[in-house]
């Protein structure tokens, strides 16, 4: 991707800095290293960027269709490790139907559909830890 033309590398790294908002990029290949950094303006330092550190859903919050977690715990998509998952994308579901289980403090808590509809997307993986309010799946 990057040639050994210093000007070209610096230009490309600079572009990366702008695009990502990073302050410093260090690039090393076959023993040659180059570092590009930018000065932070004093105004910028007042505003801390809200970067999420944990793996959270990258989808924009789709409150209308999303089922959110009512508690902190671990997700299980099926009743037990050997069973099929409760639901798959495309499934038509009834109100009250079991969608997944959240384990909290050694108790299993079934999460049931608050309304009938079609499961369009499952946003969490099996055994994924979730926090209160985290989006779990989308139902249309």
């Amino acid at each position: 991707m990057f040639g050994f033309n210093i000007d070209k590398i610096v230009k490309q790294l600079n572009k990366l800095l702008d695009e990502t908002g990073l302050t410093e990029i260090e690039y090393q290949v076959r023993g040659k290293k180059i570092k590009v950094s930018r000065n932070i303006h004093s105004q910028q330092s007042q505003f801390l960027k809200t970067e999420t550190r944990t793996e959270k859903s990258q989808l924009p919050k789709d409150h209308k269709n999303a089922i959110t977690s009512p508690m902190v715990g671990i997700i299980y998509l099926s009743n037990d490790p050997k069973s099929e998952p409760f639901v798959k994308p495309g499934d038509k579901i009834q109100k009250g139907q079991a969608l997944l289980i959240i384990e909290a403090m050694k108790t299993m808590n079934p999460i049931n559909a608050p309304r009938a509809g079609t499961v369009t997307k499952i946003l969490v993986k099996n055994e994924q830890p979730v926090e209160f309010g985290e989006e779990l799946l989308l139902i249309e």
Binding site: Q46, F47, L48, T50, R53, T54, M71, V72, G73, I74, A104, M105, P129, E131, F132, G133, E134
Partner: protein
């Protein structure tokens, strides 16, 4: 200390400072405290999914819940605080007084048992002598207190105190104490490890209060001399040693006419712990963590050097005159600096102070080589502090530190309210 952290927060606090600074964060519930910060299951769940080794309960909320401390330990997680048995004993104010009296501390005269009936209350009040104070047994933090100056007032105050106690502490048990007219609130900070080593970090004077809430605290107290200080601190250390208590703790007294009366013990870190840190150079939270890790305190009383004077101003998000709460967007925040000027706060420019929690948003703590120097430095720091966009009580603090009575150290727990009511 190189320890990774998980910040737990309610939905309302997702942009809070501690959430941004921690290594990980977990949203534990909606804004209502009962469903988030006072929700043991949610907090334990968060500890479980992050594989946390220990929980620091902070100040307020579950920090004085013996039940919570026990559940945490039962789940194999270290509770950074005292043993839950001590939290339980000291959490019941009647039992605490009994215990401390047994161990040799002077206590405020009062009913030795919960009040059983109106007649019971009248009899005891006659014995102690009016005026009396009706207090919630499971109370604390200055809440649920009613004064009765005579029998008629007592008859009215008793049921009122009970319902307030029920509402605030889930328990309508009350007891009666002699009402002291001009006491100072003086408390002793102690630190102990699990090997029964105990030290004190001298006292704090927390008499500047409004509606029983501390507004400004200072250490040491301008009312005590070296002898008095030594006596009370050593008595307290002896009692803590006998109890076998460990972690941080504060023993609170009312001090009037040269006599100390034990009031209650706080089995947790206190908001105003910072003034004791400033005059002793000892990091109390760090010590708590080390003690929880079974490390020895590593410092003996004779190595503790108390020097200088420190004052803390509690900066609240409220109107300085009407005291109406003032949550909202902080459009500008500038923290004062310089030697021995410390600001403990979660504020930043652009932070939205939520309306759901306590109005305390910053602690301004200043140290000086003596009380006068400290006051001078504090005046400058108060002028330098900028919090725009919401109302704060900085002007109230400026009034206090410029007041002759305060400057002379001549105040008691009623002083601030008397001054405000003039």
């Amino acid at each position: 200390m190189g320890i990774k952290t998980v910040a737990v927060h309610s939905e309302a606090d997702s942009k809070a400072m501690h959430v941004r600074l921690a290594d990980e964060s977990v949203c534990i519930g909606p804004s209502q405290s009962k469903k988030s910060y006072l929700n043991p299951a949610a907090i334990l769940s968060a500890a479980s999914i992050t594989n946390a080794d220990a929980i620091h309960p902070g100040v307020g909320f579950l920090s004085e819940s013996a039940k919570f401390a026990r559940i945490v330990e039962e789940h194999g997680i270290t509770f950074i605080g005292p043993a839950y048995e001590h939290m339980k004993t000291m959490g019941n104010k009647i039992k605490a007084k009994e215990k401390m009296r047994e161990l040799g501390l002077p206590v405020v005269p009062g009913s030795d048992e919960p009040i059983k009936s109106e007649d019971n209350a009248i009899k005891i009040s006659k014995e102690i002598g009016y005026p009396v104070l009706i207090k919630a047994s499971m109370g604390g933090g200055g809440k649920g207190l009613k004064i009765a100056r005579n029998e008629n007032e007592l008859k009215k105050a008793l049921p009122a105190a009970r319902s307030e106690a029920e509402a605030s502490f889930d328990n309508d048990e009350v007891y009666i104490e002699k009402f002291l007219s001009k006491p100072r609130h003086i408390e002793i900070q102690i630190l102990a490890d699990k090997q029964n080593n105990v030290i004190h970090l001298a006292e704090r004077d927390c008499s500047i209060q409004r509606q029983r809430q501390k507004i400004l605290e200072e250490a040491p107290s301008p009312a005590l001399n070296e002898n008095t200080r030594k006596q009370i601190c050593e008595s307290v250390v002896e009692v803590i040693k006998k109890l076998g208590y460990f972690s941080a703790g504060t023993v609170e007294f009312l001090y009037q006419n040269g006599a100390f009366y034990f009031m209650e013990m706080n089995t947790r870190l206190q908001v105003e712990h910072s003034v004791s840190e400033m005059i002793s150079g000892i990091d109390i939270v760090r010590a708590q963590i080390r003690v929880a890790n079974n490390d020895a305190l590593g410092i003996e009383q004779k190595e503790v050097k108390i020097s200088g004077h420190a004052i803390e101003c509690r900066i609240n998000a409220e109107d300085p005159v009407s005291f109406k709460p003032s949550p909202g967007l902080v459009t500008e925040f500038h923290s004062p600096g310089g030697l021995d000027v410390r600001v403990d706060s979660a504020l930043y420019t652009g932070y939205d102070v939520p309306p759901f929690y306590d109005s305390l948003i910053a602690k301004l703590i200043v140290k000086g080589r003596n009380r006068n120097a400290c006051i001078m430095r504090l005046k400058r720091a108060l002028e330098e502090l900028v919090i725009d966009g919401i109302r704060v009580n900085t002007p109230l603090h400026q009034k206090i530190v410029n007041n002759p009575s305060f400057i002379n150290g001549a105040y008691d727990i009623h002083w601030l309210e008397d001054y405000l009511n003039k």
